[in-house]
Amino acid sequence: VSIRSWAAPVATTAAVILLAGCSSSSTSSSPTTQPSINFGSQASVTPGMPGMSGMPSASGNAPAASGSSTTAPATPVGPNAVSIDNFKFAPQSLTVPVGTTVTWTNNDEEPHTIAARDGSFHSPALDTHQTFSYTFQAPGSYDYICSIHPFMTATVVVTK
């Protein structure tokens, strides 16, 4: 039977994976109760949270996520705009005079942020077609990244 290493795990109903040296004989004591967890400190607050116990399976009737108000009707055009497509800022380097408001638009299905390396500005996560604007008040070169995908880098150069 031939399989492809990538496709195989998802192409079968159940992929059983065993690891590490299994040669030692197993002691076949079979606990019937669930093991307790030791968090190793006497702290009264512990990580995690309890799930439902002994209840029939539940379907999470969760509220719908609320939308954000920063959705833009269309991709901004013009000299003060940066678009995000395919995990790239375009233009890679934008030069504007001081006092300019720059607007970024995310055209990807993935969210992105605009985060200055020096911490001077940081957007929330922009969903598809959402925008973020920032007004540059001081001259300089501002390197920024997407803090979700930090391999995405670009620069705004602010002139006097």
């Binding site: 399989i3 492809r4 290493s5 195989a8 998802v10 192409a11 079968t12 109903t13 159940a14 992929a15 059983v16 994976i17 065993l18 690891l19 590490a20 040296g21 299994c22 030692s24 197993s26 002691t27 004591s29 079979s30 606990p31 019937t32 093991p35 967890i37 030791n38 968090f39 190793g40 702290a43 512990t46 990580p47 995690g48 949270m49 309890p50 799930g51 116990s53 209840m55 399976s57 539940a58 379907s59 999470g60 969760a62 509220p63 996520a65 609320s66 395919n86 995990f87 299905e109 993935e110 942020t113 957007s123 996560a125 969903d127 598809t128 997407c146 803090s147 979700i148 995908h149 930090p150």
Partner: protein, 311 residues
């Protein structure tokens, strides 16, 4: 189920393909339609007549709030995954969500995913954050909801059934790849100081603790430092999310298993310009999503993983 489980039954082509990625000796064989992966030279045992010492489930990358074409209703598929965990036929000792709980880290999305998680039938639900949960505020909102009892950026450890479990945060500091940072590394070293060499170690993180594809940020910059503290242990298993696909790699005493997602697939490493959501042909989405069962039997130094497609 009669075909042999000898790792050498893998075809040469598979092995070459496999080794090109792994550079190691995790081997896949097909047994009665199931794909079985184990370390070359070991003898897998699949029969488990008795209750394992420890059994838990892993779910990952639910991306609550995503509404793109790759999966217009991630809440539905996450609910299905939760129901599937609740239908395993036993109560898992705990369930771990390995991050990207939310898509945009909004308070509403955190609230929604927390409510959904509490529908899991298990005594303990644990989480580690993904970069979608921490990207815009270094994880403050995440920790408000899920950070109780954790340290630093949200890391913690616990012991259960003779296994030491370490839950790491490698999404808060992202210079380019994932990063644990000095404080967390020091904590890891201290955390395992009193743990005996034969204690199985399980490490949970969102981003892989190995370099799966650094160009897309699929790796952790200082993972080697963390793993150096775990060298003396006979069995270390790293379980992560982030890449939305199954993948396995072994390095020395450490075996890495990336998990699939409950939301939408991502491309294979380097396939296309960016790690953007993949929209599959109609009817194929569930095959790319799933949950993972993990069990451990005392005295075996072995963890058994079973991947289930979303049904």
């Amino acid at each position: 189920m009669t075909s042999d489980r000898d790792p050498s039954s893998m075809t040469r082509r598979q092995l070459i393909r496999h080794s090109a990625w792994f550079g190691s000796a995790v081997v896949l064989t097909v047994v009665g339609g199931e794909v079985i992966s184990h370390i070359a030279g070991s003898t897998p045992k699949t029969s488990q007549a008795t209750r394992p010492t420890l059994r838990f489930a892993q779910i990952s990358d639910s991306h609550i709030g995503f509404s793109g074409g790759a999966n217009p209703n991630v809440a539905d598929t996450f609910t299905e995954a939760i129901n599937q965990v609740n239908s395993l036929g036993y109560t898992p000792d705990f369930v771990m969500h390995t991050g990207d709980l939310t898509h945009l880290a909004t308070p509403a999305q955190f609230d929604q995913v927390k409510q959904m998680l509490t529908g899991l039938r298990t005594p303990h639900i644990f989480t580690v954050p993904g970069e979608h949960d921490t990207g815009d505020d270094a994880g403050q909102k995440y920790r408000q909801v899920f950070g109780a009892g954790t340290r630093g950026d949200g890391w913690y450890s616990f012991d259960i059934a003779g296994v030491h479990v370490i839950a790491l945060v490698n999404t808060v500091h992202l210079p380019k790849l994932g990063q644990l940072g000095k404080e967390q590394l020091e904590w890891i070293e201290k955390d395992v100081a009193g743990v005996s060499n034969d204690t199985p170690i399980i490490v949970f993180s969102h981003i892989p603790m190995f370099a799966m594809y650094p160009d897309w940020g699929w790796g952790t910059e200082d993972a080697a430092q963390a793993l150096s503290y775990l060298k003396r242990f006979s069995s270390v298993t790293c379980l992560n999310g982030h890449v939305h696909q199954l993948f396995t790699k072994t390095e020395g005493n450490v075996t890495f298993y990336t998990a699939t997602t409950t939301a939408y697939p991502l491309p294979h490493p380097g396939d296309g310009p960016a790690p953007k959501p993949v929209t599959l042909p109609a009817g194929q989405l569930h095959d790319a999503l799933g949950i993972r069962e993990v069990s451990y039997v005392k005295g075996q130094q072995a963890l058994a993983l079973k991947e289930q497609k979303l049904q």
